[in-house]
């Protein structure tokens, strides 16, 4: 796959956010966010609903626009007048809470579309790649079905495979298990753990603390648009610093 456009420089620092703020009208969703992500790093972002964690991750591929500060992806600044947004987005995989598979296309077509349409990969190569990725998320036998015929967990794994087919430099997960039935959470997390262990750079917004503990290099806790606390998983869970974090952890871990 040497013909793939490598728009993001193989720099050590994949993502850098410097003093990023964002407002929805008068409501401040992000307040002076500073965060850097290195190649191969796994970041878990957690926090109460409305704390701005989804907004943060959506700013990274500019599904949302920030109004202040600087976001650099592989050295390219994300701003309003950038010309190469589509090239940059091709290198950033995103997995959504509600999967957002293309319902009119089969699982295989969902996975082939990106490489074939915008990466310049031939149909047969795209198909081989799609099958390999479906193999990786353990549902190659569903390739010819339509998304609506799959369970939620299977759909989310297809969504992950679809992103992987683009061979992204970084993967963003926006609450990937929040819309799933409890018994399907495990299969998606398993896929994500496998991905993390393969060395993929990942930023995950999730409340799955077991996942954070297992694969996270850094846990970031947000509240009211600010990063309240950041630490390695062990210290974050065993020895939280701020009262807000302690309260949050006691609430989600007490059940």
């Amino acid at each position: 796959m040497s013909n793939v456009n490598q728009k993001i420089a193989p720099d050590d620092l994949v993502i850098s956010m410097q003093g990023v703020s964002k407002w929805f009208g008068a409501f401040q969703a992000l307040n002076d966010i500073n965060l850097s992500v290195k190649q191969g790093e796994r970041i878990v972002i957690c926090g109460p609903s409305g704390s701005g964690k989804s907004t943060l991750i959506r700013c990274l591929n500019r599904l949302e626009a920030h109004q202040k500060g600087k976001i650099l992806i592989g050295g390219i600044e994300m701003h309003q007048k950038m010309k190469n947004i589509d090239k940059v987005r091709q290198d950033i995989g995103m997995v959504f809470q509600h999967f957002n598979l293309y319902p009119h296309m089969t699982v295989l077509e969902n996975c082939m579309a990106g490489p074939n349409w915008v990466r310049g990969v031939s149909k047969s190569d795209a198909k081989d790649r799609a099958m390999a990725m479906l193999e990786r998320v353990k549902i190659p036998e569903q390739a010819d079905k339509y998304p609506s015929q799959l369970s939620g967990g299977q759909q989310q794994r297809v969504a992950i495979a679809r992103s992987l087919c683009m061979q992204p430099k970084v993967m963003l997960f926006d609450e990937p298990t929040s819309a799933l039935d409890p018994e399907m959470v495990a299969e998606v997390l398993e896929t994500m753990v496998e991905l993390a262990e393969s060395g993929m750079t990942m930023i995950c917004v999730t409340h799955e603390m077991g996942f954070a503990r297992k694969v996270g290099d850094l846990v970031v806790f947000m509240d009211e648009g600010q990063i309240v606390e950041r630490n390695n998983p062990t210290d974050f869970f065993e020895n939280p610093q701020s009262d807000r974090t302690k309260l949050f952890l006691s609430q989600i871990l007490s059940h």
Binding site: L63, D86, V88, Q90, M94, F96, Y102, G114, W117, S163
Partner: protein, 323 residues
Amino acid sequence: MYADNVIGDKLIHKPKFILGLLAVAFLAFFTFNLAGTMFGEFLRPVIGEPKESGLYGRSAVALVLAVLFVGNLFLISFANIKVQVAIVWIELLLLFLAFFYSFNLKFSFIQSKIGFMITQGLFTTLYISAVSIAIASLIAIVGAVAKLSNNGFAYGIASFYTSLFRGLPLLMQVFLIYMGLPQIGYVIDAVPAGIIALSLCYGAYMTEIFRAGIQSVPRGQWEASRSQGFKFGLTMRRIILPQAIPLIIPPTGNQFIAMLKDSSLVSVIGVWELMFLARTLGQKEFRQMEMLITAAFIYWGMTMVLEVIQSRIEKHYRKKGQQ
């Protein structure tokens, strides 16, 4: 509609309801004095000369009709629903035919003209409508995208266009285009003028249909597509429109059926389509009614065929959507 699983007694089997319905039917038939019509003619043995039968004749006709009507309802109520529908259709059709028959039509005249009405009139009507709906669909896609865009210029043009062409009667648009364009030095034939008028008018209505269809595709589809690096055009063509089209097709089918009949308005500028022939073919021999009725049946038949086709297409997309 929601049909409950508990079935009560049929209303029509209750004596009180039957009597009430009889009274209402009697009053209705009595109000429109029907003694002077063919119904009165049928009852001549009972009421004598219909025109001189007075109140007696009027009530007798009304009573007979009311009994026939209610008795018919009562009998039909014992059949299953499919048979009921079939009987009602046949009865109404027979009444309709009897209505036409009473015009004292000359069928040989119809026979001599119907070939031309179909090869010239029906063909032109279908051809104008098909071309117009195709152009209108293109206009509608562009208009819908413009109306949904953030571009003030595009939105301005699109909203002015839909406002104007939805705001003027189609007949006026036909005149304005056919007689207005030559004023600025552009002489246009009747057929293209008709097609332009129909396309622009229906394009304006369909812009709103397409806009609603595109808007009903969830936002997440846009986000997934854009986050994969698909450009706007690619997203629209391969992701959004394929999902919007199954929603757009049923109302577009309705528009096409409506257009088929509104295409009769271009007869005013002399296009030889079905309506024009219906008005002109019978003129010389004072046989207008024959031609109008023939055209009416051709329009109706065409519409029924299209409705069947439309429901097939809808079914096809519904199946696809369930995959």
